[in-house]
Structures are given as C-alpha cells and as structure tokens.
Amino acid sequence: MLFASETEHEAVAQASGWFLDHAWLIPLIPAIAFFLIIMFGKKLPRGGSEIGIASMLASLVISAGTAYQWIDLVGKTEHAEAVTHSTTWFEIGSLKVGIGSRIDGLAMMMLILVAFISTLVQIYSTEYVRGDRRYTHFFGSLTLFSAGMLTMVLAPNMVQLILGWEIMGLCSFLLIGHWWEERANSEAALKAFWTVRVGDMGLLVGTGILLALFGTLDIGEINAKAAEFTGDHKLLALGAVALFIACIGKSGQFPLHTWLPDAMAGPTPVSSLLHSSTMVVAGVFLVARLYPVFHTGLDINLAGHHFNLIAVIGGITVLIAAGLAFVQNDIKKVLAYSTVSQLGYMMMGLGVGAWMPAVFHIFTHAFFKCCLFLCAGSVAHTGSHHSFDMKKDMGGLRKKMPITFLTWMISTAALCGVPFFSGFFSKDEIIDSAKGNDYKVFFVVGLIGAFMTTAYMTRATYLTFFGKARGGAAHFVNEHEDHSHEPAHDEGHDSDDHHAPVVHGKPLVFAPDDSPWQITVPLIILGALALVAGYLNAAAKPFETDYFHRWLHSSIGVEIPEAPHFEWMNAVPSIALVAAGFIVSLLICKAVFGEGNSPLKGLTQRNAILGGVHKFLVNKYYLDALYEKVIVRGIAHPISAAAYWTNQHILDGIVNAVGKGGKRTGEMVYKYIDQGLVDGVVNGSGTTATHAGGALQPVQSGKVNLYGALLFGAAAVGALVLVLVNS
C-alpha cells in the first residue's frame, strides 16, 4: 500500500460530539467556497457573494455547535483536555506532519469570533463594494482570508499554523491592494506583505528551534514539555524571541507596526476584518497558543523580574501608537493606530502573565473595533462622498446618520473603557493584573494608554459627528434639508439636475437618512455586542460572572498567578483618567476645531516646540524614513557599491589584461596562420553555413512559444531514442 492515509484518534477518551469531531469542516467550507467563487462567481446573479456568505454562515453554524459541545464538555469534566484529530499530511523520514483540528477553549472562542465577524463583514461588503469591477475576486479573497485564519486557529501542529498564517499574508496582500490601479494602494499592499515577511522568518526559525528542542511539532506536546522544561534555557529563550518577532510583524507591534496604518488603502470592510478578528490578532493568538513556551522562555512572572520582552514591546506599542492617533486626519488611520495600541494592550497583558484578560480583550476588542471601522465605512459610503478625511469632509453628521452615530458612540465607549461597556471589563483587568503581578511600570503605561485612548477617540468623534458639516458632509446634510439651498460642495452639484451626482468617478449614494440595511444591520449587531460582550467575564461587583474563565482556562497550559480580585476602588484611577481624557480632549477640540476664536487655533504653526512635536508625530517618529532611507539603503547601497567597485577594478582589469594578451596573440596568428591556411577553409565553410543558415532561418522566428515547442520536441525525440536504445 502506497500512501496509506491513516487517521490517528489520539487520546480523547472523554471527547464526544459530532461537532467536536468534525471541526475540520470549519475552515474547509470557506476554502472550497473560495475555489467555487473564483471559478463560477462571475456567472452567478450576485457575483459570487452568495457563495461567500453561505460558506461563512455554514462555518458559523458549525463553530457554534463546536462551542456548545465544548462548553458542555467543560461542564461535565473538571479538566477538559483539548480534542485533537489529526491525519498525516506528509512525512519526511521519521517525522510525520499532520493536518487536522485541535479544539479547546481558545480555539473555540476564536472560531466563533472569526466566523461571526466574517459573516457580518461579507454582508456589509455586498453594499459597500457594489458595482466594483473586481467584485467577485473581492469576495473570493475575503472568503479565503477567513479560511486562512480558521485554519490557523484550529491548528493542532505548527505546520498547519504556518499554513494558515501564510494564507492570511497572501490574502491581506490581495485585499489591501484591491484597488491596485492607484499606485499608493499597491505600494501599501507590498509594504504590508514584506513587513510581515520580515517577521515570518522568525516564525520559521522559532518553529525549527522548537522542533530541535522538543522533537515534535504538535502544539499540545510542545506546550506540555515547555511547561516543565528543564533543558537548555537559552535555546528556548531564543526560540521564544524568534516566535515573538513573527508576532511583532503580524500584530503590528513596535517597531514593525508601520504597515498597519498603510493597510488602510484597502476597502473598509477589509480593514474591519483585518483589524478586528483576523490577521493582526494572529500574533497575539500565537503567543496565547504557545504560552508555556513564552512563559518559560522569557521568564514571565518570575520573582524579581519586572520586565520582559513581550511586556516591554506591548507597553511601547500602547503609547507610541496612541500618540500617533492624535495627528491623523483620516478617520481610518485613527482607528488603525487605535488597533495597534489595543494590540499593544493585549501583548502587554500576556507579558505580565494576565493570559485571561488579554485573550478576553481579543474577544471584546473584535466587536467594537469591527463596529468602529464599519461605522467609518458607513460615513464614507453615505455621508462624505467616499472621503475619509475628517477635517475636510465630515462633521455634524450625527443627526443625519442616527444609527451609525449611536453604534459609533457605543463602540467608542467600549474602546475607551467606560464602565459597563465591554472594553472596560477586559482592559481594566489587564491594567489591574499588571499591578497585581508586580509589574508597576506597565500598570502606569496601561493607565496613560487609557487616558490617551479616550482623548484621541473624543477628537475623532468630535470631528466626524459634531461641529459644522464640511465638504462632502455639508453637501450630504444640506441635500436633504433644503433642496433649493445653494450647494455647499464645490464639485458643482446642480439641484435641478435629477441625475445622481458623480464625485471622483463614483456615483453618490443618497440614502434618505442612513446607510442601507446591509450596512446598518451589521452595525446594530456589533454595537449590541460591544455593549454586552463584556458580561461574559465581568469581575466587577454586581455581576461577578466568570464564564469566559471557565471555558478557556485549560488552554493556558502553564501555571500563572491568579488574577487579582476586582475591587471598584482599584478601578478608580483608570476611570478618572478616562473621564479626564474625555474632558481635556473635548475642551481642546472645541477650541481648535470649533467656531469660536480661540488662542489655541493654529498653535502648532506658531509655537516651535509644539510644532516640532506635531511634525515628529505626523512623520510617524521617522520610522518609515529610518527603514527605507537608512536600513534598506544602508544594506542595499554598500552591496551595489561593492559590486560596482569589483566590476570596475577587478573584473575589468582581468578582462583588459586578457584582452591585451589576446590581441597580441591574435596579431601573431593573423600574420602567419590565418592569412595563408585558414582563409581557404573558412571561405568554404562560410558558403556552406550560409546555405544551412538560410534553410534554418524560419526556426529563428523570435517567437518564444516556438522555441519552447522545439525544445520539448527535441526532448521528446531524445526520450524516444533513449527508450528504443534501452529496450
């Protein structure tokens, strides 16, 4: 028997249930749907979107069933083991590499999250990219993207994890560069792809080190062995660092965060999916998944250690990204930096040993961040003529777009950590744990981050929904209030003209009030979840729920300190800072962007220090310049210079010397041999060659295909001769 496919049902005595055993269907359905969309999508009445949405719904149903059975399992048994199914994919020597599914609390949570958000985003996209020239491809890539994330989340071993990880890398490239006709978009796609690739090297190296250390690629075994590791600690630390570099690249942590804001070049639903539940949380997920490796390798929670790599990188990311969010005019870029900052919170949480709050923050963050992005998309789609510029084309939209405004406000409150909204319960837990686990510095970082988050979100909210309508928004607002009004927009809309006005080559959508239902329904669902998702693990007094903890705690795989008991008194500083951030930012916004005359207006132009800070932030701490001008050129330029020097001096010297020698020899030969003896022969052969060349001339057609055909024809003749001779 060649290629026996053997299924290994590993020790899963207590495991049962159809969904737990068939979880591999969850990524498989969207993966198949991708091929169906690419092959048949264009012929379908809805351009393939129906296949995408149906496949995501099917995945969602199976994920829900899996979650139900897992919760059931946890309820029945005290120590529920992960349910693993694996089939041999390929083997090299004695190493068998499997593909399959590993269901535990963490995987269950992520499956639900990814399938759910992907479904909503696809419904939203049917309206948002309607009429796009690559509509079918868009849905194909979106579906494959979700399939990649689901594959990664389910991975029972490192190879499948890398597979899903790379599928996502490819799809993010395709989706960010969806409108590649504009050069900036395709450059952003390339930047995202290459920046993440820098990190991916770490993933391969880290996986190699884990294989060398533990002799296995199975995640369960790696975690078990890492938890009680006694061998070469340096090597494990090196492996953990390498893996963490991958997480830095994927999750947009400092210093590789620069690709994330540029990724805003993609359509808004893509940004939403990318920034909430897929792609960028993959790095955080990897740390959570292999937590024992990082916990042991990087000395997290070791007595006397107040810093470690993960916490430091996370902490830096929280602050620098929040700082950048203040100077953005593009609403999506504010949200992008906000995502970077929140991912920093998650990493910081994992770095201080707060596994549960960090993972819970992935969960709550996905809902409100997805909602915020979709709100931004809704504003641009309906309210501001496809512009994302808050200063030029927004303002005063709250009355015209009540649903978008309401869901935006709820999600913003959740993001800022306003008490009783979902973000509060996860973020405050992270900050609290940093204090409880004796990481004082990161406690302070968390508090400052909370202040900054509130401040920049207040600024964005003010610019978008309050104040006076400007540019495209003014056009939109006035359009419906008063038809005889002089159009405020300078694109020259004539109120007598009943044709839809066209701006930037795209017809404008003038919904009477808010965006169409395909946009508002996902917003309402996500807004509601941003409100209530936190109550799954609300440690605060009147609620004291711990469902999330019960379902997920077996996924940690290593002993970590108990989360400190929640006291409202401990939360006072962060709540006070959130309130302070709101008030300070509101006052500044009113002064700077409001109608009145204020001394604060144009302060960055007048004051040298503030102007310098502003410029420093606008230029993103000059990190892009550092990478492109210093590092890339610093490496590439000397290499090319050295190559040029070698070429000019060494190679040319040799060539010249050989040439001179050759010339002298040639002169001798010419004098004595050539003239007399050879010429006769040459003339004779020349005549022959002319005739032969003339006969062969048609073959040299210059057509590459013909050359290929000749090559293969010759090879076929050769093979035939070989067969005849050998038989």
Binding site: Q697, N705, G708
Partner: protein
C-alpha cells in the same frame, strides 16, 4: 494504490504544462506552465521515493524539496524579467517580443 497512478498524474500535468508553454501568449502564464512542468517532475520523484520507502532512502523527498527551492528562485527571476519587460514595453504578450527573429 499503484505507483502508476502517480506517474500518470505526473505525465498529465507535464502535458498540460507543455501545452501551456506552447500555446499561451502571456508571459506570466507561460511561467505558470513551467511551474506545472516542474511540479509534475516532483510528483514522479515523490512517487518513486514512496515506492522505495522501505529501504530508508529519502533521496526523492530531498530532491523534490530541492526542485521546489530552485523553482521558487526561477519564478522570482522570471517574474522580475516580466516586470521589467512590462515597464519598458507596456506589454507582456510574447508575440510582441520577437526582436530575436533571424
């Protein structure tokens, strides 16, 4: 399962690849067809590797990996050339690239 099936699959892929190289006018598609040819060879190598798997010899596997690496490099160079041709000529149709006509 017999080794024949894999050899047949390899042969089929090879023929599709050759067909693509001969018929396609788009340089990128010709490169893709070349990939098919390389992978059909890989299938053959792996099939023979499994045929003699009991002898503990993994040469076929290793050789296949080697080909994959070389193919990646080849595509890298090939696409770079196509990109440059496109930049200079605004076309990648092979019919327009017949300067070598004798």
């Amino acid at each position: 399962m017999l080794v024949n099936n894999f050899l047949l699959l390899g042969a089929l892929l090879f023929c599709i690849g050759v067909y693509g190289v001969i018929v396609r006018k788009n340089a990128v598609l010709v490169l893709m067809s070349i990939e098919l040819i390389l992978n059909s060879v890989n299938i053959n190598l792996l099939a023979f590797d499994r045929l003699w798997a009991d002898s503990g010899n993994n040469d076929g596997n290793v050789f296949a990996l080697y080909i994959i690496a070389v193919a990646a490099a080849e595509v890298g160079v090939g696409l770079a050339m196509v990109l440059l041709i496109f930049r200079n000529r605004k076309t990648i149709s092979l019919d327009d690239l017949s300067e070598m006509k004798g």
